[in-house]
Symmetry: C2
Subunit: 206 residues, 2 copies
């Protein structure tokens, strides 16, 4: 007996799962959406969701058309010396975005701020795919790590906006090495540097 559009390997199945996942993540957020519920909604077995996408994280990244898995960048940055995290992360990011995947990144950023729903999903993306993973992976202090990573994320989002979306010169055409030399130390400082006034509750002074 033939089951229409629901067989493994059928592109319709993949699309049906993605559509169900988009709705679920949008309605319930990343944590509230379950693979089981998404599978039910798509009319497939939960095992098929895993077969197609591997994990809830990968499924979420697929619904957002993310040009990369931030975990790969975090893992790469965390692999070497602790004082090279910033440089390595910025370089890995630029290599991906300067390449063919950059167009998907620009589309993600553009859609992100286009409407409230997309913004909410991007916030979930930053929280679940970057913050939660970066703090333990980079061995950051639990109490300080969240704020440190959001500062780093602010610089990465701004760099991507300036270089790839707004395309303001001379930053847009600057060689990767030059951008790494400028922005790598910023990310490094946010993640591991001494930040007087940030965690001691005294503010920046004046």
């Amino acid at each position: 007996m033939r089951r229409t559009g629901r067989r493994p390997g059928n592109p319709d199945t993949r699309e049906a799962i993605l559509a169900a996942a988009r709705s679920a993540f949008a309605e319930k957020g990343y944590d509230g959406a379950s693979i089981r519920a998404i599978a039910t909604s798509a009319g497939v077995d939960p095992a098929l969701v895993h077969h197609y996408f591997g994990s809830k994280d990968k499924l979420f990244l697929a619904t957002m058309n993310s040009p990369m898995d931030p975990l790969d960048l975090i893992t790469e940055a965390a692999a070497g010396s602790r004082d090279e995290i910033g440089e390595k992360f910025v370089r890995a990011f630029l290599v991906i975005w300067d390449g063919p995947a950059g167009a998907a990144g620009v589309a993600l950023l553009r859609s992100t701020v286009g409407n409230e729903w997309a913004t909410t999903m991007f916030r979930e993306f930053i929280i679940t795919q970057i913050l939660r993973r970066a703090v333990p992976k980079l061995g950051l202090d639990e109490a300080e790590g969240q704020l440190r990573v959001t500062f780093a994320a602010s610089q990465m989002v701004g760099m991507a906006m300036a270089r790839y979306v707004i395309k303001v010169e001379p930053l847009a055409s600057a060689p990767i090495d030059v951008v790494v030399a400028a922005i790598g130390p910023t990310v490094q400082r946010y993640l591991t540097g001494n930040l007087p006034g940030v965690f001691d509750g005294t503010g920046a002074g004046g």
Copy 2:
């Protein structure tokens, strides 16, 4: 004889000038658009454009619904000690965006990336209203200044995106003093710091 909708003080006149200005800036860019042509297109005397908006810069800012004139922030940052430029600029920016004008800023950022036209206008905004003014006002080296300011702009855009558009915590709710303590030194370093590998053509090394 009564001239409809073109009298001084008539809100229609202001709107007609703004509409003509938006078209002119979009078609010809900031430099290519002239007050005279905008006035002709709006059916008013050029003196009336100056009467309503004061200058081409102010007219341009009005067409973009900018929550502030970046020149005010640059002037404020440049007023004190040279090593406090970053802190002062970030603080002045946060005070404005944390206030009632912040909503206009968010709308500007959202519209900016929504379509190619708006992105082009925002690039013009950064170039004409920030880059051109910041380099001389802050006394930056002419050869290095453009790149330095775009790095600073990337951090400011990213901070605004993270705090006001994406609203990712804990950055979104962090006190101004805390954000200034973290991001002020970044902007300071981009503008006036020693940046090995950025201007010597050797790259970041590694």
